[in-house]
Assembly symmetry: C2
Homo-oligomer: 350 residues x 2
């Protein structure tokens, strides 16, 4: 029997909270028998919901909070005035080591600000990054940053590369993950200064990493590399572009099939195959963005997801805790950053 | 009978040139009876190919060039040393008004540098932009810039907005096209200074344009706006991300259908519907990126395309010439920029 893993849950974040949060916990419990939850939120809403889930209730420690961080709240304001909110209390539980990780579907900026304040960044990391898994032709890859850092210098990108590498090795269990920096086609212009300098540092480093070089937008779907490094602006746009294109395709395929009788019959016969296709790219399966570089596990669920999506966010947190990601990052980064630092000092500037 | 339109063609650009170029011209001629071509390239390669296409040969004026701009050539080098290349000669034909527009599948950076040098930018336009149509749930939208300008200030973005608006009105025939600036989710951080300032200018302008505000990556597929404005770095990544996701989906759907007998039978029965779906998103149909803001029509075909794709690039050039896009931009921009200029002067800075 594996050790019990305790996750603290912000029950009030997300469009369909707290219903979808309760559903998500219930679903997650089926596959994760060793998990228990500390749940923060309004008990008057949560108690009636939990009464319908007896098995789940037995694994929950409910902590009442009146305050909720709204989705419009600015990060700074939430940080100052949201000390008693369900989001903050859920993060605090990780800070006090009562919980092993936190999951919230609330306001991303507020969650990052609070998590950074409470959990601090790991030694050698200037800025945490938001990372997510993305499906591709070969399986999946991790992309970061997805919106925490709108403008990034070369050093930020190099740190993201190291965090992504450690994640891919420790959690995806890839022996020597390949790393690419997202850039525009080399034939036009070779990108901005940040990506050029970051590529130069990663190319010349003596760190035992597999730096592939630049990748382009279509390499995300191809699965050219295991880790895709980019600034938060480009990463956010690219991630949402993948999501939007996926929706467009799924919608248009259905539309075309339902237009004709033959289409409907064919779709009915091929239903298992089409379902398997849908399932493979179901965005809920990829829900649960990771805040990498913090002194604790923090997972951001998509605000608009449902119970199944939230369940996947819980599973992502569970996996990071199980694989002791932060221990990995801490050890590797300490080693990497000392080597990288000494390397930086000896590398001639160009 | 409509007036004859003359397009100059760089026959040597692209991975499968000149074969696919000749095929593309032949295909285009079927739908565009009023087109004729001035074709620049190596006659020893072109003559045998053209002998197979008698009808096409009658509509072609072949001009021999030995020189070819390679795909690795740097724009500056190509500009200085490529004066006798097929690409440059094809652009020159537009500069001398012998041709109404030029199409090339060659080196994007070299094509842009040469086109800018020969055709100049339109009055009031600092930097030309690369624009392309993209499919969405409602039809299609135009996105720019796609890689000509890696770093853009607010003024560049505002100019792109106006160029995109004029294109959507004159060529897509949308009465009052809506314009959005691509940004990250407002909940995290509200983007960089360029997008914030550009949005402020467009929000306050008295120009008769429909500025929607910020859009996110998933709005590309949704079709939230008719014109998506972005810097060349983000736009290039977003465009290629759409392409990569499209390929991933098409490939995975086929994979899932071919895995089982029922999948194969269903796919066979639904073939017309699936073909119609494929056709709707066939990237070749969207081939032909437009260089907007230049004193002449210049279309860049994807280098890796085939005859059908090159045919669509020719059609894109033909459409811009027919709809007299540049006349529209020139007139509108002269009006817009004088209004915008006087507006800028009276708007208090913040």
């Amino acid at each position: 029997m594996p050790q019990t893993i305790t996750l603290s849950i912000d029950a009030m974040g997300g469009d369909n909270a707290p219903n979808m949060v309760v559903e998500g916990m219930d679903l997650a419990l089926r596959d994760l028998p060793n998990v228990r939850f500390i749940v923060f939120g309004r008990s008057e809403q949560l108690v009636p919901l939990l009464e319908k889930h007896k098995r789940l209730s037995a694994r929950i420690d409910l902590r009442h909070c009146d305050d909720v961080v709204s989705s419009e709240e600015k990060p700074g304001v939430a940080l100052r005035s949201g000390r008693k909110s369900s989001m903050r209390k859920a993060i605090d539980a990780v800070g006090t080591h009562e919980a092993d990780g936190v999951v919230s579907a609330g306001n991303t900026g507020a969650l990052m600000a609070m998590a950074k304040f409470v959990l601090k960044t790991l030694p050698g990391i200037d800025r945490p990054a938001i990372a997510s898994l993305l499906p591709n032709m070969k399986g999946e890859s991790v992309m970061l940053d997805l919106g925490a850092n709108i403008q990034c210098d070369a050093e930020n990108l190099v740190q993201f590369a190291v965090m992504g590498e450690v994640y891919a090795r420790n959690v995806l269990h890839i022996d020597k993950p390949s790393i690419g920096i997202l850039n525009v086609g080399t034939e036009v212009l070779k990108g901005n200064d940040s990506v050029k300098q970051a590529a130069a540092i990663l190319s010349e480093t003596k760190l035992p990493i597999d730096f592939y070089g630049f990748v382009e937008g279509d390499d995300i779907g191809k699965g050219t590399v295991d880790v895709i490094v980019t600034d938060g602006f480009t990463g956010n746009v690219a991630l949402k572009t993948v999501e939007g294109t996926a929706k467009l395709f799924a919608g248009a395929l259905k539309q075309e099939l339902m237009k004709s009788t033959l289409g409907k019959i064919g779709a009915f016969i091929a239903k298992p195959a089409i379902d398997s296709f849908r399932n493979r790219f179901d965005p809920r399966r990829y829900n649960g963005a990771m805040f990498l570089g913090l002194g604790g596990i923090c997972i951001k669920s998509h605000g608009g997801t449902d119970g199944l999506g939230f369940c996947y966010a819980i599973k992502a947190a569970h996996e990071l805790v199980t694989d002791q990601l932060n221990e990995g990052i801490k050890e590797d980064y300490a080693r990497f950053s000392s080597e990288h630092h000494s390397m930086s000092l000896t590398t001639p500037e160009d």
